[in-house]
Symmetry: C2
Subunit: 195 residues, 2 copies
């Protein structure tokens, strides 16, 4: 077990030895626990067992680490959106994919939605704005224009918040998935449901 094990779970184009994705993985773990601002490069370096300078050899700034982590997550969302375009039931495909993604990457989702530093960086990120718009259009495709914002806000909040709820653990994920899907279909599906 020395030269193999090249997971490449984090999207990037160049062929690297695995230290860069490992750095991102460690950084995201710390970001989700302490926030981006609350995580120092010294903490990341310590967890990796190297010095700050070694981390700065992989990433030129702290912001670059944050963005690299976010982009891996956005790429997965893009796959779901692409798949929904061609699906028989686009809304249902989108909801299933979004919920599975959120449970699978639940710590990252919380970071994307709530961390102030992440929000600031993503606000300047072109692709993020495009994905947000595509997601909103996909979620509202069965609603009339006037009453779409509130149900979408509720569904997005429920998904993004419940997957990181301290009340739940891994054993609840199947039930959580069903509960969220049921809720989302009710609020965003065709038909009249609101009072």
């Amino acid at each position: 077990m020395a030269t193999s094990e090249q997971t490449n779970a984090v999207g990037s184009s160049s062929r690297y030895s695995g230290v860069k994705p490992r750095t991102i993985e460690v950084a995201l773990g710390l970001f989700t626990e302490y926030g981006v601002d609350g995580t120092t490069l010294q903490m990341i370096a310590d967890e990796l067992g190297v010095t700050k300078a070694a981390v700065y050899h992989q990433f030129r700034t702290k912001d670059e680490i944050v963005i690299s982590g976010a982009e891996a997550s956005l790429a997965r969302l893009e796959v779901v959106l692409d798949g929904a375009d061609d699906a028989a039931d686009p809304l249902d495909h989108l909801l299933s994919g979004l919920i599975d993604l959120s449970i699978d990457q639940r710590r990252m989702i919380n970071l994307l939605q709530n961390d102030p530093v992440m929000s600031r960086l993503l606000g300047q990120h072109e692709r993020y704005g495009q994905l947000t718009q595509r997601l909103f259009r996909g979620l509202t495709q069965n609603l009339s224009r006037g009453d779409s914002r509130v149900p979408v806000a509720i569904v997005m909040a429920a998904i993004g918040g419940a997957v990181t709820s301290p009340l739940l653990d891994e054993g609840d994920h199947d039930e959580l998935r069903r509960g969220l899907l049921d809720l989302a279909r009710r609020l965003l599906g065709p038909g009249e449901l609101r009072s």
Copy 2:
């Protein structure tokens, strides 16, 4: 307009001139925009038009400002919980109160639920743990023990997240209140609803 204007909107026992609640108000505004870690005492002082030393005359540490802000919010939650105990329909009273409170203090709610510094401080805060337990018991009073955690997590996430959604503004609050109340009644009320 020099000596009067004594709002006292923020709970504290001593009689102070209004600078202390004003400091908390300014601080909370900055905390919700930049996070607790991203807000410096210099920023708070600048917004108040004084120096850092003047702020430190009111609060001994930065943490004390954070906790003072949280306690004002927790006091309001406690009032809602107390009222629900004596209400004809305790669950409905609790839900209405919780949702109104969340919309009214929506920036604070987001801070309480998501800011890492706030979470760390509240974790050491005795009264917060008691209130969390009372809230959970109040929300699950109509559910059987086995299936309570997931619906509560979903309802709490939906309320706490939707009230700060960037998709909504003040004009949507009435519709949001109805949507959240409807959702919460469905998931937490008596009767069988899940698949």
